[in-house]
Symmetry: C2
């Protein structure tokens, strides 16, 4: 006992104990500048109490409900044993299996994309052919209200089914799914996001929503589908269906699963746009933090396979089996090689900025609308009703436009499928009807490729405004639908409008001012302004239009759009992520945080376990706390109130591991067959572990002890309490950590830093200054 | 003193002292499996003694001469002060400056590329026009030896100058420069690699080499030039010219400089191939370890600017100013949209594998040749002579081919610039002469775009063999020349040969078997087989031929080539890197190293400094050791022989920082103006610090002390001695570290791990098994 006291006194200055924390904090506060003082003053109330009301729509509060994924390998004795036993063959087999899984991901994602594609096309054809015929039939009889009501009904019925599916079966399937996939790849466990139920609701839902005529596209949901497919295949089992194929067992951990999901997302992009390179870049730009060449390569492989499968199926569907470069396979149609002149570039940049402005406004409106939805549309039936109302509104707007604007063009000039005459003369068709009586994707193709003079300025102008607002109200509905296509459509329409205007100004410039070219630039500008991606978007647009010579103007446009938009607000995906309070870690640590230290950021006191601990104690801890990781320490040097408070860091153990150990009753006193225990016991339960309430522990069991050493991660990354926030951030981000134990000078655990502690510091612009704001954490959000 | 002893005894088990290391190691050895035992047994002799001879050409020895770059920010008090003082404005300014630098990098890289392009074209035109005319003139007189000797002379003279420049002025400018840039981006300080002298030699050298008719291209050197330009501009000063513009001072550190260099390399690719997206992917695939979105975006920006500038200048040069999508701007010519059928894909894959085989053989031959060169061509004059001989050989081979193979085609069919009649009839020209009498790049264009039946099988066959061997002997000469183009040329030739063969077999398939298509596939296969890149290469080929519809066949070909090639050996760049013994860190830690611990890998005993140390001691340490980083420790707990051996880790200080502190005489006793000291004192000296011998320290100075705390990095990443090799590897790679102090349980420094300690473990395939081999380190290599 004497030597213990001795030790404590000797290291009085070095030991940074729990009791001393608050006084040390004050000392630090005094030594820091005013700026960090103001930071520190708010530090003590980082979690909102339950009676504090969270203002709906706030962007500055993190939700406490999101857990992190764990990308760090637990190098415990079991893993070492496994490696030793299995050797090279196992390694090669695992590697081959990995390639096989990526192959399967590519194929399955493409097949799902094909089904969605073909279903939408077939159903839409029936719908719009009927409508077109009816309009022309009843217009003669003066009973235009009949096709109108048919249009409304044709919109409402599928949307009703789709929205009900989303609202009642799987709410996480709403929207495009890209924000959710982005969060997952960033390391946040979004509940349900990669479940098979989500996949089914998502893919059926997107068909119904698009057929229902909503202003949305199928691309986002396809990307999400790819991610789910990847997560499903790589695990070789489905908990929903309670099937375990017993294959790919070694991929049952967060790290491997993440890799597959990033491949799946890429395959999804690849299937949605026929853009394999764009897919890889998308999964990099939106998700990855650590660039890994071999992973990227496998991702690329999945993308290629996906495009390949898609093209094989679709070429057969289009009646040209095997002709993989059939131009009809390009989603947005094949562009001729545009020529452009250097003096057009500034003009493209201007259009980009304009797109950025429009996009920022779109994001703002959508944000306000989302806040309103969070506040008032809380009931599931209300959500379905809202979706149906918007579907009816879409039909009404469309019908009014073709009814009121008499934009007629002679037949034969435009490759429209269902020419509708409306009030036009014989041998003519109503241009607006041809735009509305097809899927939005087909409309984008029309605007890109219709010959000049197909559309007049007025109809384009009205269309832009109508579609801009419609797409804005549609995104965020309880429907599985994306925003790529409607945004492209809005942009293509105003781009074409610009071309019409230019041709009015310079009637001789017909050779240069091709409306399709301007439609493309407008579409890129609008999309860039809304989603703020650059590299992947450039490549996706290049690939999906089969046009590479136009790369430079596209990139300039996209950069201008992003910069202009970023001046006002965040991209739409990030806005929605912030609305949900997801603790997303940005790419780089915020500035000005070199003088915020681990001791200020960490949670403490920290709950620890001993290397050999009582079952009783473990069960109690699991019941009392919600922590997911526990530092394992040597029996502590001093005890307070007869209870260990801290000790020297020996390892880290996860809640899930403890649960499995308790379930399997791996107690020192009773377990006999130690030989049979391997890493696979944890994989078998992955990813849905029981809760502690579901584990039965008898009173007798509670007397036993557990030796945690074979199971724990024996050398977790840890840092000193004097480490700066930016260093912790880099460590966390680069290595994909979930927990970071903070130790004092003698390697005793004094605190714990998790994702939320780091994500709380966010850069924002405040009156022209860059400041670091501190978010609060709410358990209610 | 008593309490100290007490402490030591209490922690006997925990303290892992220097003296105990060897016995602990043995203990560990016994507890490990046989595999790691064999590893450990060799661990004790990791550095070759000076009398051990390094076999020339070994791939299994690391050179001790390469230092690491330091990407970790030193968050010392000075930096915190600076941040506090300068605030937001400084941050915004720095950010804007960063964009400006990337803009400048793009412009300058493109301008250099343009000069190289235009010089080569002009000089080659003169050369080949003269030759062509001479041949046709002297053939009538029967004096063919005259044009032959002219050809030889025209080859030897520029090559002689170019090789002399490389051999005598800047040897690091030899070759393509891509391996060197790759090493730099990986974090290895390759001496001279980003110096302005290198840039000059490189760009003049490449013009001379290509004009000299060597089987090489200008692309690699252009990429290297981009990297140098980036390093130069971003530093705002040139040590070579002793000019300091006083700008961009804040970028004077390894981390910032690396970012710029990766942008420069991308801009280089972009300028060389007109492939901005390919450029970004290249710099990612070959260099980056940590994916950073904003960096990637700036890299993209530089690439775009580079392509843009290049196209503006070249379009003006070609007489179509401002027409940026003039097809002549595409290096390898614009491809028509090929159609391909699904049943052609397996055939493309076969061709890919064949390319992989040829590539692996090429690499093997080149490796053997390089070893021979290392052994025998050591003298500078010998190097120059060798280059001249190869130049003469190239001329001879070319001349013999056009002399011996009478491949005549009627004029007008082929867009050759200088039709040479040779022995052909009137109105005909010699096809081989038209291939040889132009730059290799132009020959690639010919093979890609010449109409069918331009080349007959025999001439193609001979050409493939000749060029294959020539390009193999050329790579590795003391000339600044790359291998992209000759490899593409070889591949294009055998690809065309395949098409000729196919047309013989299926005479009716003329619609499908376009020789240009097969030339493209062959070129991709050959290049993929030699360099083993996939993603970036696909995109580069797509961009440089303006052809996107052919992406899928290209990717399949490249993957097949890479897999086949990887079965036999490494890519040519990696082989050359291994030959130089550069400690490159691969993407992932080797397998089976979970049970190798820091305590086994680290260097020890470690030389430490105290937080306040005597000048005398510091100078002595700097003189005695070659270490670049020193842990700063608290006054140690026990002393041995009156000398501190280890203590509790407080920070890390670099040799360069110590030098600057000594130079500035920042001694506790004498320095008065502490206020004026800021981080900039270190930046001012970056990157070439004085050696300790150049710092004058008087005997009086030696009595003073230095307080290291304001200068040191106060919270370096450190790990416990029980951390596994794979964890250390991941930490090192993800964070770009240079030094990793190893601590014991009470946070006392017991060892140091550097890049070489980790790079020593390399995966290799040995009789079908994947094993981890341990490399030795040599100070001689």
């Amino acid at each position: 006992m004497n030597s213990n006291t001795d030790h404590t006194e000797n290291h009085k200055d070095a030991v940074f104990s729990v009791n001393e924390t608050s006084s040390d904090l004050e000392e630090l506060t005094n030594s820091c500048n005013d700026y960090s003082k103001s930071l520190l003053s708010s530090l003590r109330r980082r979690i909102l109490t339950s009676d504090e009301v969270v203002e709906p729509g706030t962007l500055n509060i993190l939700s406490a409900k999101y857990e992190s994924l764990d990308y760090d390998t637990c190098e415990n004795h079991l893993l070492l044993d496994e490696e030793r036993k299995k050797g090279t063959k196992y390694l090669i087999k695992k590697n081959l299996q990995r390639w096989l899984v990526f192959l399967l991901i590519g194929v399955c994602t493409a097949l799902i994309a094909c089904s969605i594609d073909i279903s939408i096309e077939q159903l839409s054809q029936v719908k719009y052919a009927t409508l077109s015929k009816c309009v022309d039939k009843f217009i003669v009889e003066g009973k235009l209200y009949i096709p109108y009501f048919m249009y409304v009904a044709f919109n409402i019925i599928p949307v009703f089914i789709g929205a009900s599916l989303v609202a009642f079966v799987e709410p996480v399937a709403a929207g495009s799914g890209i924000p959710q996939v982005k969060c997952y790849l960033n390391g946040v466990k979004v509940p349900q996001v990669v479940r098979i139920k989500t996949l089914i609701v998502k893919s059926v839902g997107v068909v119904l929503s698009v057929v229902g005529g909503l202003a949305g596209g199928k691309e986002g949901p396809m990307i999400h589908s790819g991610a789910v497919v990847a997560a499903g295949i790589s695990q070789g089992k489905s908990t929903t269906f309670n099937v375990d194929f017993g294959i790919f067992k070694h991929f049952r951990e967060d790290h491997e699963k993440r890799d597959f999901v990033s491949g799946g997302a890429a395959a999804g992009v690849s299937a949605a746009f026929g853009a394999p390179v764009g897919g890889v870049l998308f999964s990099l730009e939106e998700g990855t933090s650590f660039w890994n060449q071999s992973l990227t390569w496998r991702t690329f492989f999945a993308s290629i396979i996906s495009t390949f499968t898609l093209n094989v199926v679709l070429s057969t569907y289009h009646g040209v089996p095997g002709n993989l470069n059939y131009p009809g396979l390009l989603n947005l149609g094949q562009f001729e090689r545009f020529s452009y002149q250097i003096y057009e570039l500034p003009f493209f940049i201007l259009m980009g900025s304009f797109g950025g402005l429009l996009g920022a406004l779109w994001n703002y409106l959508n944000y306000k609308l989302s806040v309103w939805r969070i506040r008032y549309i809380r009931n599931k039936w209300l959500k379905v009703t809202e979706a149906c109302l918007i579907a009816a509104l879409t039909a009404t707007v469309g019908f009014l436009m073709m009814f009121l604007i008499n934009d007629c063009k002679p037949l034969g000039q435009d490759p429209t499928k269902f020419p509708t005459q409306m009030y036009c003369g014989d041998g003519e068709y109503n241009v607006l009807a041809s735009i509305w009586f097809q899927t939005p994707e087909a409309s984008v193709r029309s605007l890109f490729h219709d010959p000049p003079n197909t559309h007049n300025a007025l109809s384009l102008f009205v269309f832009v405004i109508a579609y801009y607002l419609l797409s804005c109200t549609t995104f965020g509905l309880a429907c599985s639908i994306g925003l790529f296509i409607p945004t492209l459509l809005t942009g293509a329409a105003w781009g074409r409008l610009v071309a019409v205007g230019l041709l009015q100004l310079f009637p001789n410039a017909t050779a240069l001012v091709h409306p399709g070219k301007y439609a493309l630039v407008g579409a890129a500008a609008q999309l860039g302004g809304v989603v703020r991606m650059t590299i992947s978007l450039t490549v996706i647009i290049m690939e999906t239009t089969g046009n590479i010579s136009f790369a430079l103007p596209l990139i300039l446009t996209l950069i201008a759009a992003k910069w202009t938009g970023d001046f006002f607000n965040e991209g739409i995906y990030d806005t929605h992520i912030q609305l949900s309070g997801v603790p997303l870690l940005p790419w780089e640590p915020p500035p000005f945080v070199h003088n915020i230290y681990a001791s200020e950021v960490m949670s403490h006191p920290v709950v620890t376990l001993r290397t050999i601990d009582k079952v009783d104690h473990i069960v109690e801890l699991l019941h009392l706390t919600t922590y997911n990781g526990f530092p394992v320490v040597d029996p502590p040097i001093r005890e307070e109130h007869g209870y260990p408070t801290y000790g020297r860091l020996r390892g880290m153990i996860l809640r899930s591991q403890l649960i499995v150990i308790l379930q399997r009753r791996l107690f020192n006193e009773t377990c006999e067959d130690w030989e049979s225990i391997s890493s696979s016991i944890f994989r078998d339960e992955y990813p849905r572990y029981a809760t502690i309430d579901e584990v039965f522990i008898s009173d007798e069991d509670k007397m036993f002890t557990i030796d945690l050493r074979p199971f724990m991660n024996p050398s977790p990354y840890s840092v000193l309490h004097s480490t700066s926030l930016s260093r912790m951030f880099r460590l966390f981000r680069a290595l994909g950590l979930r927990h970071l134990p903070i130790v004092n000078d003698t390697n005793e655990v004094i605190g714990m830093v998790t994702r939320k502690d780091l994500a709380r510091y966010r850069v924002c612009r405040h009156r022209g200054k860059i400041v670091v704001e501190e978010l609060l954490i709410s358990k209610e959000l």
